[in-house]
């Protein structure tokens, strides 16, 4: 009864208001685009300098000059606009995006986000635009499995991985439940195949 990544993406898409300007992070968040209603008027931003980004380009239509933040060839929708990196990140940092959807290693109960570095001393640090998105978008939605492969919770009292942003996450979409992070509390919005009590136990967190 837990959700797969497509079902999670559909839940996120459902919560994106019509006409919103949205950035979908690299990886699973890009799946959200498949679930946006064609008439929603949602406009996608890609941090490498474009608004009104369309779906991935079919192989034979790939244009090396038209890629998304994950360096995947994409397409252009009517009403598109291109801009340079300083303008693109001014848009992000200045709070003009309505929503961004990001993956995460960990989210804390106060909305801290860890999604850029495992803390492994051997790992090569690489942050990209994650920190700019985390602090910039009006609403930050995280999409992740609730537990890591080793069974440890990813919604935690305090992140143990290096932070991407402090107190920036508003909602968390997982395979087992969706949450609202208010800063003061974590509120369970929906659960999938698990009770709130069970969830609270497994996470060892007070939930509302």
């Amino acid at each position: 009864m837990s959700l797969d990544k497509h079902q999670m993406a559909a839940l996120v898409a459902r919560d994106i208001p019509a006409g919103a300007y949205v950035n979908l992070g690299i990886g699973q968040p890009t799946l959200v685009a498949d679930h946006l209603a064609p008439d929603s008027g949602v406009v996608l931003h890609t941090e490498n300098g474009m608004l009104s980004m369309g779906p991935a380009a079919p192989g034979d239509a790939a244009d090396p000059d038209l890629i998304n933040a994950g360096k995947v060839p994409v397409t252009e929708l009517p009403g598109a606009a291109y801009f340079h990196h300083a303008d693109s990140f001014a848009m992000m940092r200045g709070g003009h995006l309505d929503v961004c959807v990001l993956g995460a290693f960990q989210v804390s109960v106060t909305g801290d986000l860890a999604n850029w570095h495992t803390g492994d001393p051997d790992a090569i640090p690489a942050v990209g635009g994650a920190m700019d998105l985390a602090i910039g978008a009006k609403s930050v939605y995280v999409m992740m499995t609730l537990f890591a492969r080793d069974g440890s919770p990813k919604l935690v009292p305090a992140c143990t991985y290096p932070l991407t942003g402090v107190g920036c996450v508003d909602r968390v979409y997982t395979d087992l439940a969706t949450f609202t992070i208010t800063g003061d509390a974590v509120i369970v919005r929906e659960t999938f195949g698990i009770s709130v009590g069970e969830l609270s136990d497994r996470l060892a967190l007070p939930l509302r």
Binding site: V43, A81, R93, G136
Partner: protein, 219 residues
């Protein structure tokens, strides 16, 4: 969120509150959103702070708003002009407050407001009366003055064309302050000469993406 294509300039300025900070585009008359200002005069908001390069010309537009006593304070680079007599009179009689800001600092402070920059160090004006008493800092052997962002509750700008997503293009030197002001206000209203179909503007030539624009009216 989505732009609203308005039928009238009145719709485009509806809801402006007393005491608002209003960014007004234009350099002289180029890019001046004359019809939006006229609509704001009709609309009635008062106690305004106006941020603009100039402080009104002749009897119309910004000058007319000033003449009605609706502006508490002007932040601008160049109030004094051959035909700025309405402002001049208000200023000399102590009925309006003035903050003079170097033109590039004005533009950059508005940009900072739109770009989420908390403050920045500028070399402009250092050692002049406009930097007196202000925080300065030596960086790499040069002295800079700390400048703070400017944001508006409302921006009124003049552009050339809009599509139905609110993407804007400008015309020649009428571009001036419009693009930065559009990034720095809670409510951005643009008057344009024409609203075209979405897809009719060259995506490489869009200057203000629709994300920044709330209301558009063709005048």
């Amino acid at each position: 969120m989505s732009v609203t294509i308005c039928d009238t300039a009145a719709q485009a300025v509806a809801g402006v509150s007393d005491g608002s900070t209003v960014l007004v585009g234009g350099f002289g008359l180029a890019g001046m959103p004359v019809q939006l200002i006229e609509a704001l005069i009709e609309q009635g908001a008062t106690g305004l702070t106006v941020v603009s390069n100039n402080a009104g010309n002749g009897d119309t537009g910004l000058a007319a708003l000033l003449a009605q006593g609706r502006v508490r304070k002007v932040m601008c680079s160049f109030p004094r002009q051959a035909d700025s007599y309405i402002f001049d009179d208000l200023y000399r009689s102590g009925r309006i407050e003035l903050e003079v800001i170097p033109q590039g600092t004005l533009a950059e402070r508005i940009r900072a407001g739109g770009a989420g920059i908390g403050a920045f160090y500028s070399p402009t004006g250092v050692g002049t009366p406009l930097a007196q008493g202000r925080e300065t800092r030596e960086l790499d052997g040069r002295t800079y003055v700390l400048e703070y962002p400017i944001t508006g509750d409302v921006a009124l700008i003049g552009a050339h064309r809009s599509d139905r997503l609110g993407n804007l293009v400008y015309r020649k030197t009428a571009r001036n302050f419009g693009p930065v002001m559009a990034t720095a206000a809670a409510l951005v209203a643009a008057q344009v000469s024409e609203v075209v179909a979405t897809g009719a503007l060259d995506p490489e030539a869009v200057v203000t993406p629709g994300i920044y624009v709330d209301r558009v009216v063709a005048v």
